[in-house]
Assembly symmetry: C2
Homo-oligomer: 329 residues x 2
């Protein structure tokens, strides 16, 4: 470089500090360079560039993210189930009859096979015992306590530390570019809301999830909402577009998922709706996380993987595309 | 004023144009000075002043507004019913049997008494015929067309012009002060969403309302959501706190309503929850709008008016407190 060139560049840098900082800082440092990362950056560039034919007004830049397996891990079973099992153990002294009664006996004996043998009915019994019968404020306090202390049996990390650093970067990158980021998860809406703001930067009003019915009452003159043991809405599969319609009221232009439970959300976001981006997180890294897809009992990814090529969805290969998994690595 | 003073002031104005503009502009010009307006301004000052013991972080500055009778008029009957009646007339040629069949016959004959004689069952039949059976996109187009053209029989105004100028100012004032403004209405969520952004500055994802059930499907390969003729959720009375909990996930710190349908929302917002502000719009102006309260068949305000004093809710006297009603006056 000549001195003259150098001076010229120096002047340029002084004149446009913002532009130079932008050019230098990679907003997605945990994403390896390659076509996956490029497809994301290209999409964001296209929809935010007012000169582009694909420009989308900020009000319509809605991005929806599945949670389990997309923003945090979900093996060996959904973390909300770990919460429920922990709650059964905590509540057991108040329920001596559970020692002899399935599915609770199985939970207390650490015999998950016995629990699962009861199928959906068992699961509903566990949810009713651990997620209902209290006020929403009480449940929030219970979840807040659990999420601050409970650790994963394999990694020893707090569950809330098992979020994907590349996805945290993606959420922040989208928000900086005027997107409004939502969670649309099969998990319980009130199980997520107490911690999604601190963990993902997503406030309660941007969390969509499954729910149980509730009842409002004045208790000793104070307003409370009671959680009832009856399912209200399952935010999974066909439920996801319906949850999006109910809570958000626009079609997203970006949706990210990792399983067949996200298939309909990906369809709704991308088919006959352009510009749009569908993302699938493919769990391919048995060493740093877990590797599973078509035959998994949790987060099965089969039909959505077949459909990805047909609809041009971007498949994120965790092993290849991510140079970090968890933030504390 | 001496020349010196004048120069000093000129310099001040040049140095702080923003501050001077703020000091001069009244953000609520359609509100007459008095204790009602003062209670609003005082509340906003307290929760936004970091030095105040009542300071509330922006993330928690949630304000919820009823729609019918609070943000726009609701007489002689809810405007959504006017929409439904208009739809019956529009659809009548496709349904020759309606000429002989109540409640449709009553609508076509302009005999509202006959329609109302059928009570809730009639209303549900009309809703099913006019609000269901189409996709959400089709319904949005129908509502958008109606709201752009339909006029009120008494005022001759477009219905969307019968919004309250003082409330538009209040919404804007709250947003400038970091509040997130929501509608929480007994009206249909998908009836409101197509026009609330343009009319109130409230985007679809901040609208909570009553809903009917929906179904997702791929129709000719394209994703659609079908509106079904089955009630899903009634966002009125006890439903309002539940709708707030489901869609927003925080307790508001400000709630505004005008009828007993808003009583529970006002309780939930203000009782044992400080700082908070409850507002009731009292329709007292028979000349410029309508005057009604305890005995009205629409927007009955009885128990909530009794409770206002007990809970310190601010009652807005339209005749006394507002110097304008509609924006085009």
């Amino acid at each position: 470089m000549t001195t003259r060139h150098f001076q010229f560049l120096t002047v340029l840098l002084i004149l446009s500090p913002a532009a130079s900082a932008l050019a230098q800082a990679d907003p997605l440092p945990s994403w390896n360079d390659g076509k996956t990362k490029q497809s994301i950056v290209d999409f964001v560039d296209r929809v935010t560039n007012e000169e582009s034919p694909d420009y989308v007004r900020a009000a319509e830049r809605i991005a929806t993210f599945d949670n389990d397996g997309t923003l945090w891990s979900e093996q060996p079973f959904y973390f909300q189930l770990a919460f429920a099992l922990d709650r059964v153990k905590t509540l057991a002294p108040e329920h001596p009859e559970w020692k002899e009664k399935q599915p609770f006996k199985g939970v207390l004996d650490g015999d998950l096979k016995a629990v699962m043998a009861g199928g959906k009915k068992s699961l509903i019994q566990i949810i009713a015992a651990t997620h209902a019968g209290m006020t929403t404020d009480e449940f929030e306090a219970i979840v807040t306590d659990w999420i601050s202390t409970a650790t994963h049996p394999k990694t020893g990390r707090l569950y809330k530390e098992m979020v994907f650093q590349p996805m945290l970067e993606l959420l922040a990158y989208l928000r900086v570019n005027g997107f409004k980021t939502f969670i649309v998860s099969g998990g319980g809406i009130e199980f997520m809301r107490p911690w999604t703001k601190a963990t993902y930067g997503i406030p309660p009003e941007q969390v969509v999830g499954s729910s149980i019915k509730t009842r409002y009452e004045l208790r000793d003159g104070k307003p409370v909402i009671i959680r009832l043991s009856e399912v209200d809405f399952i935010d999974d599969k066909e439920g996801k577009p319906l949850g999006i319609n109910s809570h958000i009221g626009h079609r997203p232009i970006l949706a990210a998922g990792n399983s067949d439970g996200d298939l309909q959300m990906l369809q709704y976001t991308t088919i006959s709706h352009s510009p749009s981006l569908g993302l699938i997180v493919h769990h391919t890294d048995a060493q740093r996380e877990w590797a599973y897809d078509r035959d998994s009992h949790i987060g099965q990814l089969d039909k959505a993987l077949d459909d990805a090529a047909k609809h041009g969805w971007t498949v994120v290969d965790m092993k290849r595309d991510w140079n970090m998994i968890y933030p504390d690595e």
